[in-house]
Symmetry: C5
Subunit: 354 residues, 5 copies
C-alpha cells in the first residue's frame, strides 16, 4: 500500500485531454479479455486489439471488456472513438492517482474505484485503480495491472450461476463493485488484527517500536480513507442517479453495497479512534516507566547519600576529633546510620513509594 | 461486549443474496414462537417449522413471529417465499455485523437493531442483533440467540395489559423497540458508575491500571456508539416515513423512543468527554508525582553532596594541611557544614520546595 | 449541580405511558397554585386538588396553574383527562432526566426546560426540570420542587406591572422562559469568576489541585451544555412554529430569549476553550517546574561530584603518593578544585542555566 | 480588550423591554450629533436633545444621528416613540454584552456590531458596541462612548468626497460598516506581529513566559472570534435580505464587506492554528531542554561516581591491603581510573550523547 | 511562500472603490501583452498602454490581455471605463491579500486565484495573485509580477495546438485555471518529499530541529490551505453558474479542474494529518530517549552509591574498628561489595532495564 503521495502523471504544460501513460505502466503488456453473454450462452475471448471485437447487434447480450494495463494509448483512443468516450475521461483512466469518482455522461457512466487486495501472498495490500464505463449492453473495465478480485464473477458467468447471466450490464457493474467492496472487509480484518496486536504489545511493554507501529498503522488508515471515503459518494450517486442506465431492479444490490461501504468507512473511523487511544496509553505507560526508574534512583540515592556523608565526616583526618577516640564510637555511628536509613524508609513508605 | 471488529460472514466471492449462516451460529437450535392476538383473544405457539403457522385471514388479528437462532437457512428461505421478502434482506439478517438499518420495501419495512443487555448475571453486556420485518398485520423478529428483553411485552400480550392488544403490528414494533432502548439506559447507568469509579480511583492514586481502565472504557464507548448512533437515523426514518404501514396514532410513541435514543447518544458523548478529561487528569497527576519524586531527590542530593565534599577535603592525607592541626578544626568544619546546609534549606524554601 | 448520570425512572419493562413518580420525589408534598387574571383583575389560589379549580369560560382571562412536586400521580392524571394531555407527555413530565424538548400537539404545546439557579444560599446551582403546557388561555407549569425563579413574575401579575396582564398565555410562557434564561447568566457569571480564579491560581503556582479544579469546572460545563444546548432548538421551534397558539406579537420576545440562549451557549463554549487552554498552561508550567528542579540538581551534582572525586583521590592511603608529601600539595589541590568549579560554572552560563 | 465574561445588565427579574443603562455607562455625558445631507448640501448639528432635531420632510436628504453614551434613557425612549422602534430593540442597544445581530423589523433594520480599535495610543484595542437603526432616509448609530472609527466618513460627508453624498442611508450604513471592518484588519495586523514575536522568542529560548504569551494571545483570539464570527451572519443577512430598504446598487459594497469579514475570520482561524502549533513547539522545546540537562547530569555522574568509588576503596583503613604497599600502586590506580573514564566516554559517544 | 499575515493595502479611511496600488508593487514596470486569435490566425502584441489595443469587432476572434504588475492605476481605470468593470472589482485586483473569489457581474465574470509556483530555481514557492475578467470574446488576466505558469498556453496559441484556438474565451479561462492547478501538484509533490524527509529524520534521530521542521511545514500547509480551499468554491461556482458566458462544452474541462482541486485539497489534509502524527512520534521518541538516559544514570548511581558507602565506612578513622584489624578484612569487604553489586544487577535484569 503506497503511503507516499505520488506525482500525478507528467501532463503539466500539456493541453487537457492529452493522453500520456503513467510512468509505472511503461513496458507492461496490455491484455484484453471479452465476455459476451446472455441467459442461454456465453463467449470468452482473449483479444490482441479492440478491432478484433465484434459487439453483437440487435440482441440483449451483454459485453464485458476487461483491459489489464495502461501502457497502450492506442487501445484507449480506440475506445474513445468507437464508443464515443470523452478524451477527458480517457485522461482520467490513465491518471492512477485519481480519487474514486462518478461521472454521468449522456450515453455512458464513468466510475473510478480503488481495488485494495492481497495479491500472491504479499503482506502488504495492493492498491490498484479500476475504471468502469457502463454503456448500453456493455461494461468496459480498465485496470492498472493483471490480477484482480473478479475471478469468482468470471466463474459465475461461465457456469451461469447466480443472477449475473439473467441481468443487464448495470447488474454486472454492481457485482464487480460488490467484489471490490468485499475485499475491503478482508483488508479491514487484517488491519483489525494488527491494531489488536499493537495494543497487546504496548500494554505489555511500551517500547519505541510501539509508537512506530501506531504511526505506520495510522498512516495506513489515512491512505485507506482516501480510497474508501469518496467511494461512499460514488455509490450514493449510482444509487440516486436518475439515469435509465441503472435499472430499478438493480438498486437493492447497489443499496446493499452502499451499506457495506459505510460499514467499512465506520470501521476505519473506529481504528482511527482506537489508534489515537493507544497512543495515549503508550505515552502514559512510558511516563509511568520513567516514574518507576526515578523512584528507584531516588530511593537509593536519598538512602545512601546521607549515610556516605556520615562516613565521610568520620573519615576526616583532624587531630582533635573526640568521637574517634571513643571506645564505642564505631558502633554508635553504625547505629546512627541505621536510624537515618530507617527514617528514610519510613518516609518512602508514607509516600507510597515502596 | 465484543470490542474486536469481527469479519463479516465468509461470503466473499459468492453472488449477492447467497444465504450463509454466521459461523458463530453453527449447531444452535432454532426456536420459533408465534403470538396471534386481537383485542379479545390471543394464541401462543411454539413451532418447529414455519409451515405449522397459520396466519388468520380476514381478521384484524396481529401475528408476531419470533425466531431465536440463525443456523437454519430453510426457515429464512421460507420467510422469503411465503412473505415475499427480498433475498438481500435475508442475507442482511444473517450478517450479524450489520449496522442498525432501516429499509422501506414496498410491502414491508425491514429494521435491524442491536439489543444490548445484561444476561444471566454476566458482568459484560451482550450485544445481539435483532432484525424486524413489519408487514400488514404481522411482525417477524429474528434474533441471534435465545434470551431477550421482550419478556414483559409477552406478559402484556398474555394478560392484555397496556395498549398492545388494542393496537396494530406497528405499535407492537414500537413497543419492542422501546424495550430495546430502555435496556440501553441500564447499560449507560453501569457505564456511568464505572466512569465515576475510575475517576475516584485516579484522583486518589494515579496508577497505570488507571490508564488501562480509561482505555477499556473508551473502547467500550466507541463500540456502543457504533450500535447506538445509527439507531437515531433508523428511528428518525420510522418517524418521518410516508408509508401507511406506520399509523398516525403510533407516531407519538416512536417520537418518544427517538427522544430516548438521543438521550442515550448524548450520554455516550458525555462519557467520551469525561473519559478524555480523566486522561488529562491522570497524565498531569503522573507528572506531578514525578515532580514530587524529583524534588525529594534534588533536596537530599543538593544538601548532602556539598557536605560530603567538605568532609572529603578534610579526609585527604596531605602532610601539610594546617586546619587538621587546629584545636577547633573539627567544630569549625561542622559549623561550616551547618551553614551550608542551612543556606540550601533557605534556598529550597524560597523556591517553595519545602 | 448533579454531574452523575442518573438512572431514568425505573419504568423499564412497563408499557409506554405508565406513570411512575421519580424516586427522589417520594414523600414530597405537592403544592398547586393558580392565577387567573385579565387586564383588570386577578385571583390567586392555593389549591389542594385540581378539582377545586374553575377555569373561567367565555372570557379572555388567562389561567396559570403551577404545580410544585411530582409525587402525586393523581394530579397528573387529572390534567391528562381534563385538558386532553397525552399520557406520553405526562410520562415525560415525571422523567426528570428529560432533555429540554418541544412538542407540538394539536391543542397544546409541551415544553420541557431546565431551571438552573442558586437557591437559599447554596454554593452549587440547583438544576430543576420545569415542564410547561401551553393551551388556549392557560399555562400549566410543573416543577420538581418548591422554589423557583418566577417570584418577580408573580409580583408583576399581582401589581399589574409590565405587559403580562395585558397579554395572553403565550406571552406568559415567554416571560417564564425569559426568567429561566436570565438565571443562566447568573450561573455563567459565577462560572466565569471560577474560571478566572483557577487561571490566576495556576499562573501563580501550578499545584495538582489546579488540575482538579479544571477537571471539576470542565465537568460542570459539560453538564450545563446538556441542559442549555437543546434549549436553543426548543426556543427556535417556539419561534418558527406555524401554530396559532403563539401570537405574532409575542415573537419578538421569544426572539430576544433565543438571542440570550445563544449568548449563554457561546459563553459556555468560550469557557470550554479557556479551560482546555488552562490545562495546556498548567501542564507546561509543571514541565517548566520540573526543568527548574532538574537544573538545580544537575548544577549542584556536576559541580561537586568531580570535586569530591579529587578529594577522594588524595584521601587514598597509598604509601607512595608524591603529592601528599609536597609542601604546597594542599593549596595546589584546592586551586585545582577551584579551576574545575569555575569551568563548570562557565559551562552552565554558556548553556544559560544560570 | 476585555477577556472576562461580563454580567449582562442587572435586568434579571424585570419584565422584558425595561430600559436600564449599563452600569459602566453611569455618569457619562451623552452627546448627539446629526448630519443632514443630500448631493448638494449638508448641515451638521450638535444637539442636546432629540427634540431639537428636525428631520426634513419631502426631500431625498439623508439624516444621520449619532449618539455617544448610553446613560440617558430618555433619549432612547424618545427614539422609540418618534421613530416607532420596539422597546426590545432599545433594551438590546443598552445591553453592551450583545453579540452582533441583525433584526429585520417592518419599518427599519436593527444591526448591532462590535467596533474594535486602538484609541488614543493605548496598547490594548478597545471593544465598543455600536447599534444601527436604518430607516427610510435615516441612519441612527448609538455608541457606548465618545471616540470612534467614523472620522473619515464625517470628513467625506462634509467635503462631498466619494459616493456618500450621492447615495441613500443604506449606502451610509454600508460605509460605516466598512469603516468598522477596516479597523479589524489593523487589529489583525498587530495580532499577527505579536504571534510572530512569540514564535521567534519561543524558537530562540523556551521560557514559561512563552506559554503565558501564547495563553494570552489565544484568549484574545477567542474573544475576537466572539465579536467577529457572528458578524459574518449579520452581513450575510444584510446582503440576502429581501427588504426594499437596501438598494440593489448598494449590494456590491456589502458583498465587498462580506468578503473582508470572511478574510478577517479566516485570519483569526489561522492565528488559532498557529498558536496551537506554537504550543506544541514550546512543549517539545522544553522536553528537549530537559533532555539536555539530564544528559549533562548523567554524563558527569556516571563518569565520576565509579571513579570516586575506586578512590574510596583505596581510602579504606584496613591494615592488610597489599596494593597500598606497592610502589606503583598509585599510578596503577590512576591508570585504572583513566581506563574506566575512557570506557564511559566511548559508551556515551556510541549513544550519540557527546 | 509568505507565512506572515500581511497588512491589506492602506485603504483604511478611504471610501470603498478608491484605487491604491499595493506597497510592494511600487516602482514596478507594468507590461501588457495581447493575443488576438481565432481558428485560422493569431496576432501577438506588446502594448505600452491599453489605448493601443484594438479589439476586433464583428468577428469570433478571442482577445486575451495579460497585465503584469499592479503599480499603474491608470491602466486599471482604463479597463474600468472601457469594459464597464465596477471600481470595487478594480480595488479587489489591487488587494493582493484577496482570498480566491468568484463574482458574477452582469456583463462579465470576475475570478481571483493564487498562482503558486517555483520561479527561477528558488527553493521556496512563490505565491502570486492572478485576477481574471471573462467577458464576451475576451479574457483579461492581471498578475502581480512578471513570470507565470502560462508559457505553454501561449505556445499552444501560437502553434494552434490543442483546442484553444478553436474555442471561446471561456475555454481560455479554463485552460489558464488548469495551468495554475497543475502547478499545485508540483508544490504538493515537493511538500510530500519534505514530509517524507522529516519523517525519516525523526524516526532515525529525534532532534529539536525535527520539531522545527514539522512546525515550518505545518505553517506552510496552513498557508497553502488559505489559497487552495476557497478555490474549490470558486471553481464550483464556475461549474454550476447559470450564466451564458461559460459554454456547455467547456464544463467537462472545468469539472476536471474541480476534481483536481479537490485532490490537491485532500492531499493537503493528508499532509496535515501526517504532520500531526509525526509530532506525536517525535514527542514519544524524545520521551523514550529521556527514559534511556535516566536508565543509565539510575543503573550507574544505584550500583556505585552503596559500594561507595561501604568503602566510606571503612575509611573512617575510629580507633576501635575491629574489622580493620582482621587479616581478611579487605577481601571480605571486596566480596561484600561484589554481592551488593550482583544483587542490584539481578534487580535491574528483573526490571528489564538491562
Amino acid at each position: 500500500m503506497q503511503s507516499r503521495i505520488r506525482k500525478p502523471r507528467s501532463t503539466t504544460g500539456l493541453p487537457p485531454g492529452t493522453l500520456v501513460p503513467p510512468s509505472v505502466a511503461e513496458g507492461q503488456r496490455v491484455r484484453i479479455k471479452s465476455f459476451v453473454y446472455d441467459e442461454s450462452s456465453y463467449t470468452e475471448n482473449d483479444l490482441t486489439s479492440l478491432a478484433d471485437l465484434t459487439v453483437p447487434e440487435n440482441t440483449s447480450a451483454v459485453t464485458w471488456i476487461n483491459i489489464d494495463g495502461l501502457s497502450d494509448i492506442d487501445i484507449l483512443e480506440e475506445i474513445g472513438e468507437r464508443f464515443g468516450v470523452h478524451d477527458l475521461v480517457l485522461e482520467d483512466i490513465l491518471d492512477t492517482e485519481q480519487r474514486p469518482k462518478y461521472e454521468d455522461h449522456e450515453d455512458y457512466l464513468f466510475v473510478v474505484m480503488k481495488m485494495i487486495y492481497y495479491y500472491e501472498g504479499r503482506g502488504e495490500p495492493l492498491v490498484e485503480q479500476v475504471s468502469f464505463i457502463l454503456r448500453d449492453r456493455m461494461v468496459i473495465s480498465i485496470q492498472e495491472r493483471a490480477g484482480d478480485v473478479f475471478t469468482s464473477i468470471r466463474e459465475r458467468i461461465r457456469r451461469g450461476r447466480g443472477r449475473v447471466r439473467r441481468r443487464g450490464p448495470d447488474y454486472l457493474l454492481s457485482t464487480l463493485t460488490d467484489a471490490i467492496v468485499d475485499q475491503y472487509f478482508l483488508v479491514m480484518e487484517t488491519l483489525g488484527e494488527q491494531v489488536a496486536h499493537v495494543e497487546a504489545t504496548i500494554l505489555k511493554d511500551p517500547r519505541p517500536t510501539g509508537i512506530q507501529s501506531i504511526h505506520r498503522l495510522r498512516n495506513r488508515v489515512i491512505t485507506l480513507r482516501r480510497s474508501i471515503w469518496p467511494l461512499r459518494e460514488v455509490i450514493s450517486h449510482l444509487l440516486r442517479g436518475e439515469q435509465g442506465i441503472i435499472k430499478e431492479s438493480t438498486r437493492p444490490f447497489i443499496r446493499d453495497i452502499y451499506d457495506h461501504t459505510i460499514q467499512v468507512a465506520e470501521t476505519l473511523e473506529t481504528f482511527r479512534d482506537m489508534l489515537s487511544g493507544l497512543l495515549d496509553v503508550y505515552l502514559s505507560m512510558v511516563s509511568h516507566r520513567m516514574n518507576e526508574i526515578m523512584k528507584v534512583l531516588t530511593i537509593i540515592s536519598t538512602l545512601f547519600i546521607p549515610l556516605s556523608f556520615i562516613a565521610g565526616v568520620y573519615g576526616m583526618n583532624f587531630k582533635f576529633m573526640p568521637e574517634l577516640e571513643w571506645k564505642l564510637g564505631y558502633p554508635f555511628v553504625l547505629g546512627l546510620m541505621l536510624i537515618v536509613a530507617l527514617s528514610f524508609l519510613a518516609f518512602f513508605r508514607k509516600k507510597h513509594w515502596l
